[in-house]
Subunit: 238 residues, 2 copies
């Protein structure tokens, strides 16, 4: 489909905010073309973001998996999977899309526009995934690295601060609800060379050591300790 | 966990059959350690293949998505997703694993062994995914490329010959069942420069043109035509 000079400028500026350069502007544009737009304008549906969304969905999954795998060396598969599911949910992706102001770039049919499509989490999430697919293709052999860097550089906090898996936040919520007291974390031990340290951290509640966790950073060790504390206290983690 | 010299040799030979070299033998070994083995032998469950399976599941998804996306430029998202789901199913992955003779490498607990775990499609599929995860990690920045090449070099036929999406096979099955006649494909048109050709192919049944499809290769155009013919004939594609 044709891309106006104004549209091209808008797309290039949008990408450059994230340090991304697209030689293939048609590819970048396609990430934001909803099927309601191609349908209404008799454009081939292959020019919509559908196929890029298919690809971007998988790009997102491997990037998040790789990140979580390395970030949490002590989490088991079940916990990693739960965390990943949360990050790749439409709800969370639409938050990422909103933070980027991505919705203004989406081309919608008039009918879908009238139905509030521009604010629908499902459409925002799909366009976000399609954008990842476009990055993956544009950067060819470095596509996964480019998509990974884009995600982590811009959304690392959001990816980590999954309420679901922020065990420290959950533990604090619980102890404050029970007794208005905060859990206290103390380093009990550390070993290994400076570039390969392991920390052992204990978590105290009402001055009693209720759990201890290990990790390659203090933060990881605290998380591990908080998780075990939640288990010890029989706090349900949904 | 400790790896005997014999086990190490077996692992290295297995990988080298696929042109793969692992410096990290512990990583390669872990891809084949079932949780029933770590449980029975009081080994940390993080030494089992669980986490690698989490990662390999995502590696598989992006590799297959990338392959199908490029191989079928005219398929819509729904068809690509169906094809991908079929390839990444436990059933299909266990076929890949069997072709490789991967099951003999799996370390199982005695109880699981007694239950026939070594032949369970779910265990074979998980170990296959874990192996992909191990390739991805071993080859670092080139991890995705190494996993992709491994998959396509060894299983391209299996990935393409999804009965579900082999529209030509389905059409032939149908016409032979109906009338013992084969569908006939003819090139109706071709246009574009030699490096960027588009073919238009018609499919005839009982000497009547029932559908035509386009593609960048004759094979793709035939597939597209066969798909439309199945729709024209109201043949259910499950």
């Amino acid at each position: 489909m044709e891309i106006s000079a104004e549209r091209e400028k808008e797309l290039i500026e949008f990408a450059s905010k994230y340090g991304l350069k697209f030689e293939n502007i048609g590819l970048l544009n396609r990430a934001f073309v909803h099927t309601s737009y191609t349908n209404e304008n008799s454009i081939d549906i292959l020019e919509s973001y559908e196929r890029l969304e298919f690809l971007g969905d998988a790009v997102l999954k491997i990037a998040i998996s790789d990140f979580l795998f390395k970030k949490f060396p002590n989490l088991r598969e079940g916990d990693l999977t739960k965390h990943r599911s949360w990050v790749v949910s439409d709800k969370e992706l639409s938050v990422f899309a909103e933070k980027m102001g991505l919705s203004k770039l989406i081309l919608l049919g008039k009918n879908e526009e009238g139905l509030g499509g521009r604010e629908k989490p499902s459409i925002l999430a799909c366009a976000f995934e399609a954008f990842l697919g476009a990055i993956f293709l544009e950067y060819k052999d470095l596509g996964l690295k480019a998509a990974y860097d884009f995600l982590i550089d811009n959304f690392e906090n959001e990816i980590l601060n999954s309420k679901l898996h922020n065990y420290k936040a959950l533990l604090q919520e619980y102890t404050q609800g029970e007794s208005h007291k905060l859990p206290v974390y103390k380093v009990l031990d550390e070993y290994g060379l400076s570039h390969d340290k392991t920390y052992v951290i204990g978590v105290y509640y009402n001055d009693v050591l209720i759990a201890q966790g290990q990790g390659r950073s203090k933060k990881d060790a605290e998380m591990a300790a908080a998780k075990l504390a939640l288990e010890f206290l029989n706090v349900e983690i949904v």
